[in-house]
Symmetry: C2
Subunit: 355 residues, 2 copies
């Protein structure tokens, strides 16, 4: 796209600043390296094989995905070390997992006997055992065994199960609860080591507390996702600044029905209705006083009351969304930019991989 | 898919009950017919050409879309009468609109001089004038002129603009404000008629008040969307019952970490984070006491405290989402069912048409 600028892009569109991507990847990789932590980035934020490979080239040990379909896309693109921290249930998915294990290094998690039994039945005649980590609920209140003792019991079951190998412990922790997470994992590590099953990997996750990952001393690796793009929520959490945010949604003002109201062509189909506890559905960089007060599917409603200057019909606005990951899942393509120059428009390879 | 049943479908998946679709389409078409209202269904809810055609076969005068991309998909599929109630801004979109007007009967809306000038410049040398309706803000607080007098002024501008023809008035009203909407449109109709510009079409919209559409006596047509599937929000509004809901999300219980907690493989990437003012992110048909309290992208967290019986790991659950339209935009395919039998899995033709 020779000499094409952001202003030439039709809207709504997702812009990815590749210089900020590079800086964000390096910043966290350097941090992990300096603390001896393995980095295993979660690709759910970008869903692009090229950024998965870029992180590996910078030192990541592999990637994390959340769905088999994402793993398949990444394997097709040449990624060779994939962690799928999910309970894989049912014959259809177990067959796909077995096929994946034939071509890439893969590990999964389990938090129940039912999951372990299914995995074992699928891998009982495999050449290589499937590595299975025990998912631990260290405070998030989602999946996971509820105590270090329960982690040991499930680890022992995995260790004894035909076709499986105990791979370690995994958590997705609650944001802000670093001490509790660290204490839980340290105790679990001690209990398992005392029982003769020391976890080879203790995998911690999340971007909100990424700069405190080294405080979770039991962990051997970290799985941040949003750090590559950052977003309004991560800035609110102090992970970076708005100047670090690599993903923006470009929208056009299509209506100015009143002095204090603007309507843009980006609604919940572009920005999603994720509020994550904040006011408004995103930050408009050029009009920081503007508040995106409401979204229909194809309209965003903006209150301009506190704006000194106001956008006109036809003006294009760049919006930092509340939650970058969910935006990536809504667009078939994203446009890579460097400064104001358009570099390339690329398909979002793992978009919409729901299963 | 011979003899395939719902229980054989891998999850998460979207199921569409075609018998309920047929009944929902007929019920509202019969109502519109009985009141002499033209019906112009909004396809944003289903994004499937086949259902657009089915509504037309039952008596709809055409369809409504919200994006040029949706119009293009529907035109490609053979739909010949399309209303696009949106301010079309910018050369790229005006060129696409002009191309569409060469092959289907199309009308758009405007709520500003800027939009009218752009449309006129694009159609100044067209063989047929483009029909443009004036969008009116009758209470929604989104797009639209703010008074019947402003509607007249813009109608006169359209009427005088080269390449354009004044097509009437359009509103997307606020739910529950039937009287105010009716009064606004009646006054606008009177003002325009007195000025010698009687609106050929007065287009009203929305499913929440669809059964009161006849009370808006100035309207000539209605544009409901969600009525084809219904959802938890529309049932809360009294439009139909849960037994009428045609779209469900099928999910699998992947974890039962505590007695009162279940985790399913449908999160915000399947159900969206739309709450629409309700508690919980959907209704689980088999466990009406269960509350979907939280969604991550790939996990749904369910509180089972008030359930007499509880689902086990591996059980598949059918969920009526809060908002059906946004779910349709998240899945590349949906599975048509009749009772418990699978009929066909079809691509969602107009999914992800963001511009």
């Amino acid at each position: 796209m020779p000499d094409m600028s952001i202003i030439d892009i039709d809207t709504p569109a997702v812009l990815i600043d590749i210089d900020r991507v590079d800086a964000n990847l390096r910043r966290v990789q350097d941090y992990a390296d300096s603390h001896g932590l393995a980095l295993r980035p979660h690709i759910k934020t970008h869903k692009l094989p090229r950024f998965a490979q870029q992180a590996i080239d910078l030192g990541a040990v592999g990637i994390t995905v959340q769905k088999l379909g994402e793993a398949e896309v990444m394997a097709d693109a040449g990624i060779r070390d994939i962690f799928l921290p999910y309970n894989i249930i049912g014959l259809a998915k177990l067959e796909r997992l077995r096929a994946l294990a034939n071509r890439v290094r893969i590990a999964v998690t389990a938090d129940s006997e039912e999951t372990v039994l299914g995995l074992s039945s699928a891998f009982i005649d495999a050449l290589e055992p499937l590595r299975v980590l025990v998912e631990c609920d260290t405070g998030m209140g989602r999946c996971g065994v509820q105590s270090p003792a329960a982690a040991l019991a499930l680890a022992q079951m995995i260790d004894a199960a035909p076709g499986l190998a105990f791979g370690g412990l995994m958590t997705y922790p609650a944001a802000g609860q670093v001490e509790a997470n660290a204490a839980w994992l340290a105790e679990a590590r001690r209990v398992l080591t005392d029982a003769g099953l020391p976890p080879a990997i203790v995998s911690n996750g999340g971007t909100p507390d990424v700069w405190r990952a080294h405080e979770v001393t039991a962990a051997t690796e970290h799985r941040p996702g949003t750090y590559i793009y950052l977003d309004r929520f991560q800035v609110a959490k102090g992970v970076g600044s708005f100047a670090d945010c690599a993903l923006t949604v470009l929208a056009t003002v299509v209506s100015r029905p009143t002095e204090n109201r603007a309507i843009i062509d980006a609604g919940s189909k572009a920005l999603t209705s994720d509020l994550l506890g904040m006011d408004g559905f995103g930050l408009i960089e050029a009009y920081p006083g503007a508040v995106i007060t409401g979204l229909s599917e194809e309209h965003g409603t903006i209150d301009l009351t506190n704006c000194a200057t106001r956008p006109a019909i036809g003006d294009k606005l760049r919006i930092i969304p509340n939650h970058a990951c969910v935006v990536s899942n809504l667009f078939d393509t994203v446009t890579l930019i460097s400064g104001d120059a358009v570099v390339e428009t690329v398909p979002v390879g793992a978009r919409g991989r729901v299963d």
